[in-house]
Symmetry: D3
Subunit: 185 residues, 6 copies
């Protein structure tokens, strides 16, 4: 499990949620988490969550911190548990930056009724994938939101790296935890 | 996914981490989380974590709030991700009770260097299982600990029920999240 | 596992065998069985069974009772065992309506050499899917057939609901059966 | 998938539901169904179904036709779907012998309220296993039963062979069905 | 597991690495290995290995012996282990023909720095697939190569059949090996 | 994937084929291959291969080079493919030491009719395991054998390390190979 921080602006339109994204773009081979910053605008035909499609929801944010995670297994249920853990990790990481007012509701983070995040998990033909975007700016979003800017996170990509590093460490520690127990009856 | 709150004292000695624990003891059929209160003393021969066995660690607490989770699949990696999410959930639930000083390190919860929890995941011949114990009292533990008593959680089993309910809700919402996305390329 | 009975006519042309069919059309989230009535005409390019494609078989029926089942796992062998069980269930359900002359041959139902059913199982990118169609009318089919009309099943969708309900109940009871046994040596 | 008919009497006491039963006893390597005849008496400590253990049910029959199925995968849900299909197959095979009064309820066969069968599925450390026993005699059973003797099945093992052959054929045909379809979107 | 030897020339352009290739072309149902001879020219848009795509490598050989393997499970890691075993098998088979100068490096065969083979594994929507091509001629290849012609393999398809037969036998013997062991603690 | 070379004598009696062997004995956490030297004597009650038990074969060698591999997944078919690849790797590694007279037959290595190796794969409750032993001495074996001593392999453990290193490298390269391909249709 490796991570990569892309320092160039990269706008997210949904097409990034594709197998081998990190390998093709950043040369990362194997399980990975990619971090970058850019706007977020996903049109209906790129949406992965059919609930949003049916509700005709749309996703827009002027400036987001994006995470794209790829695990090379094909268990969507597992990807979704990992996604929840990633969201919990982001909340915990923000606490280290002094932000203690957030609550997690499934794969969403809120400050009261203002939404910080968007997130989705799905399968590709060869892997499972997670996208999570955190608002940096809360301007012009279609619903009430809050952004990392409101929390005075100055080094947005640096914060992203903290999350990525933490997630990678946790994946490794979970791998080891899997390898040190005996079975029970 | 169902939960059960056992109101009678039930001391944990490791033998409870056994397949069908909730069914045989509380009549719960299917994925479940059982909650009970009692001491925790696990002898070496009941220990599941070989790291503890090799380190000759021992586990003792006079009074703990216990969770035993059983999922009827046999993917230990998935069980361990679920375990981490359960621990994150316990931390989040404590925040609702005003406890905002905890940090999660893998499957452990700490207030500074004082440990609140013990936890382990493993496989049975027919399922995967998680045990998590939270100190109620911090007396006489072999390492520095903190307990729910220190956080003025009066209704310990009531707190346990909040966690159990939250975990059940999250398992259900993850199941639904798995069933509403299209694949990507 | 839920079912839905669509009372409006819906002709089957193969494109309905698509992931999230029940969610997108009927709002059913999770494992599901959808029941509807309409003609059945599947062109070669929509055919899923390569044996039929190679044999240049075509599928046509003026009026069929259709079942579309979706399970959110990706084990095609399991889908095919479920498909056989669904076909056995349809036969058993017809027996309750007094039809005792059918025999099952794999995933087909026959009265002597007259075919009652068509059926196929396959994988989508996120699930496994089953289609089964039962002739209501036997008119103009390319091979000798029999239809529910010949069995004096008046309430065709009502019969479909009996099957769907039975299948949902069986999936639930199999889930519970999985969760109450110990392993053997 | 092979079958073996044991012509010598072999009483079932639960210990036969063990991995490699067919290989160790009859030399069958690989997925198999073994058929034999003998009494059935399973004591509590050999019982696999915890529901029976909790209910203090006991299983006794003076003379049964037994099937032991072993599949060398370790998916208990799949084993249970296969078990249901085996029970449906037994009912269908009895129909060919003129017995048209049975109904299937999950993994049980009944004539009205008289039970013909007992059955269980579970996992071994290397495989999944199914036992099914059909009463030949209905004498001295702890609950109301019916037996193959009541249906004038004279050649009990011959009937068992029909079932075994049919089950083997179906496993093969399901394997082939898995290998001839394209995926859908 | 069956094999088929196509005696007509069949040039490989990457489009052959498609689910049900053997069934649609040669009528083989189930796990299979197909053997044929022809040129090999895979354009970038048909390439499966993103490493080659990123490196702008291209694959060309005037005359190759091709193997296409399809297994009807969807475990890419398993497919890759099988692929390595197939390559080891080809080397071993060549040894029987007196060729003892080859070494295997992962999924490649070399004589010193001259490459004999190209190979790739991937997933289709319903199966896992392997392609392996062995140069017959070493003329005009983009990198230094060696060919079966240099080893005086006269009957190229006959050699292919030896490999295919050996691979089929090994798959069968591995299946049996899986079915004759007890578990350990 | 890590390896460990135990330089102290360690006789193999079958009890070493147990989950967490490398962790408990050598502190290796995660997938591993352990290498040691010692006699090999496996009594019937420790035998894992029921074919040997039924044939009343026994396994004895005065001096062997042993490999114990543990992978923390529970797919016995995959373990057996890995075992075959390990055996092929041992043969290839011996070729680098100038030994070119061996042939592989499944999971056995022979020089003509003299057997160099014993090997078995099985499941533990939490992992899959492989044992392979290569005769160093051919003295007093119950069947005709050949030993590494006959091949003038002086540094037996050094040879073992070459194999272990090669196997670890191959596991890593297979992991990467799994993570760089797109799916096909």
């Amino acid at each position: 499990m490796k991570y990569f921080i892309e320092h160039k602006l990269l706008n997210y339109d949904g097409s990034q949620l594709q197998s081998l994204f990190a390998y093709k773009n950043f040369g990362l081979m194997g399980d990975s988490i990619s971090v970058f910053r850019g706007s977020c605008r996903v049109e209906q035909n790129e949406m992965v969550d059919m609930e949003d499609v049916l509700a005709k929801d749309w996703i827009y944010s002027e400036d987001m911190l994006h995470f794209i995670v790829e695990h090379f297994d094909m268990d969507l249920e597992k990807a979704i548990i990992r996604q929840r853990l990633l969201i919990a990790t982001i909340k915990e990481e923000l606490e280290k930056f002094g932000v203690k007012t957030l609550s997690r509701s499934g794969d969403d983070l809120y400050e009261e009724d203002k939404k910080l995040s968007v997130s989705i998990s799905t399968l590709s033909p060869v892997s499972s994938m997670i996208h999570c975007g955190l608002n940096v700016s809360k301007l012009n979003t279609p619903i009430p939101t809050i952004g990392l800017g409101d929390f005075r996170i100055q080094d947005v990509l640096g914060f992203g790296e903290s999350v990525a590093k933490h997630y990678c460490d946790e994946v490794l520690s979970m791998r080891l935890a899997r390898c040190k127990v005996r079975g029970v009856s």
